[in-house]
Symmetry: C2
Subunit: 327 residues, 2 copies
């Protein structure tokens, strides 16, 4: 039985908790919170809620700690800190800062004989795996990653910061014509605008200048200016009824050519269609927690990524079972 602790109790943590129930060889020991533990009600009988202040006393009770903080400020501090006490796993997703985060976590884990995995989830994570496998199998080729249709938290936040906006949600939508062009194997060059559109649903405050809000959204640099963006103003009731989900997904393509003269086109496509982004991410983390606990038991310490994990380590089945039934 793999004993798991969860640090934090937001959407991702609840996804991890739900996934633990689906994996009979894993069990939840404790959820650690910075809030008053008495105010946090979890969904697992028999597991405790405790303060992060007491976490060190669980050192011998937990095989893997799943750290469910945010990438902007939480994880850069938390993952190295707790990698000195536990085997840990996180879903750090600031692509540009991965090398720095890796180095910090690797230092802490290696020197304390722990095993860590950073950047689990689906992007980075399952999408990264597909970029890697695709590039190795088709070295003369091109990668494409599309996101959506799904909710972008960062873009939704940006909308909500505009004066006069009461609530807002943004969907990233891949352009069907771009997907088809990639699927053809023609290796098109695609601009930012050609790949994705952005659709915004906004609840405006009473008396707000809607035309100004729409203009502010559409001209916002980095977030919206480079995209074809549509803005819909809706009521609070409609927002609550139709836009409270956390669906997401996307596509990774590798298209390339093979043959002595590059005469044959080959297209690899991987896609996800997720009703719940945090529950899927949580499910990936629990599968990798299994791998991390096995590596730690073998004495294979330090920081890993999904690239370093042999796929069989993710499965509760034995090598014999996998070869007989899944190969």
């Amino acid at each position: 039985m793999i004993k798991i602790g969860i640090l934090g109790y937001g959407n991702l943590a609840r996804g991890v908790e739900a996934s633990i129930k689906q994996n009979p060889d894993t069990s939840l020991v404790a959820v650690f919170t910075r809030r008053d533990p008495a105010t946090v009600k979890i969904a697992t009988e028999g597991a405790v809620v405790d303060s992060t202040d007491n976490i060190e006393s669980y050192k011998d009770k937990i095989d893997v700690l799943v750290i469910c903080g945010g990438s902007a400020t939480d994880l850069p501090e938390q993952t190295p800190k707790y990698a000195a006490m536990f085997n840990v796993i996180d879903s750090f997703d600031t692509h540009a800062r991965i090398p720095e985060h890796f180095a910090n976590v690797d230092g802490a884990a290696s020197s304390s004989n722990h095993t860590a995995l950073i950047s689990g989830g689906w992007d980075p994570g399952m999408f990264s795996l597909n970029r890697l496998y695709g590039s190795c199998v088709l070295p003369e080729g091109k990668d494409y990653t599309f996101w959506g249709k799904g909710v972008s938290q960062g873009h939704s936040d940006a909308i909500r910061r505009i004066a006069g906006v009461k609530n807002g949600k943004q969907y990233t939508i891949p352009v069907e014509a771009a997907l088809e062009a990639v699927r053809s194997g023609e290796q098109p060059e695609l601009t930012t605008r050609q790949k994705h559109t952005r659709e915004c649903f906004v609840v405006a405050e009473e008396g707000a200048d809607k035309a100004l809000i729409e203009k502010t959204i559409k001209e916002m640099p980095n977030y919206f200016a480079d995209y074809d963006t549509t803005v819909h103003f809706i009521s609070e009731e409609e927002f609550a009824a139709n836009h409270s989900g956390m669906n997401h997904g996307g596509f990774v393509f590798r298209t390339g050519v093979t043959g002595n003269n590059g005469e044959h086109k080959q297209v690899i496509e991987y896609s996800l269609k997720l009703d719940s982004n945090p529950e899927f991410t949580g499910s990936v983390l629990v599968a990798y927690a299994r791998a991390i606990s096995r590596l730690a038991a073998k004495g294979d310490f330090g920081c890993k990524t999904v690239f370093d994990i042999a796929p069989a380590l993710l499965s509760p089945l034995s090598g014999e079972e996998l070869r007989a039934h899944m190969l």
Copy 2:
């Protein structure tokens, strides 16, 4: 530089040879043939063609031997035999006999300090990987594998054995409605007939009984009787012009549910659209040859499958490069 030998020189071997040219860290040393080497002309300058009788003299000149025989009779004999002399890789694809083949190859490789990989390619191979990752990430779910649209060699052979048939080719075609039902996440139960159709293009001999040929095909047990099969009689010219390709492909799905009450549907889809089946398979084998040569250099001997290979081992890039650019 990874020095590669190829055993055999059919379509798959030529695919491996073409892939070696696309991978600057690999080079082809020799092609081994059971035919008279003087009659075999290869596409790589500087590589030699030699008889399989002389293969043992290459023991110190080759890092990995890629064995390109057939699964029915060649590989069960060849892969264990040559695993005693070389690090080897094959594309053994008789799913039911994989455990037995694995045991034979593992014995030969382990006792002679070599590393082997069996069942590389796309099914088994890349499809197996997607079945494994999918089942680990979505334990409460269901797998679906579809093949095509593409040429089935076994079914084409079966057609050509019928009296009065001069030439024949069979395409396996996934049923679009079945793909859509799976994509919905509803986890449908699908019969053999609901998943694939079979389309046959036949060149009949002069004066042959076409109605009888069609009936014989459609009623052939195992091969066609359980499918909706269409048969087209065409001229030799049309056959040569339109049906000489080796395209193939297919789909692997994992659809499952997550959440405390299984309330969210999650759909993973992986697909291949290949202009050349043997060239794609050859490209997969070369990527795994890189991994096998690295494991052998580390002293990690015995038989492996794609499940045992950490993805980073497939890439010519370093861990730092992969984390910085592909994660």
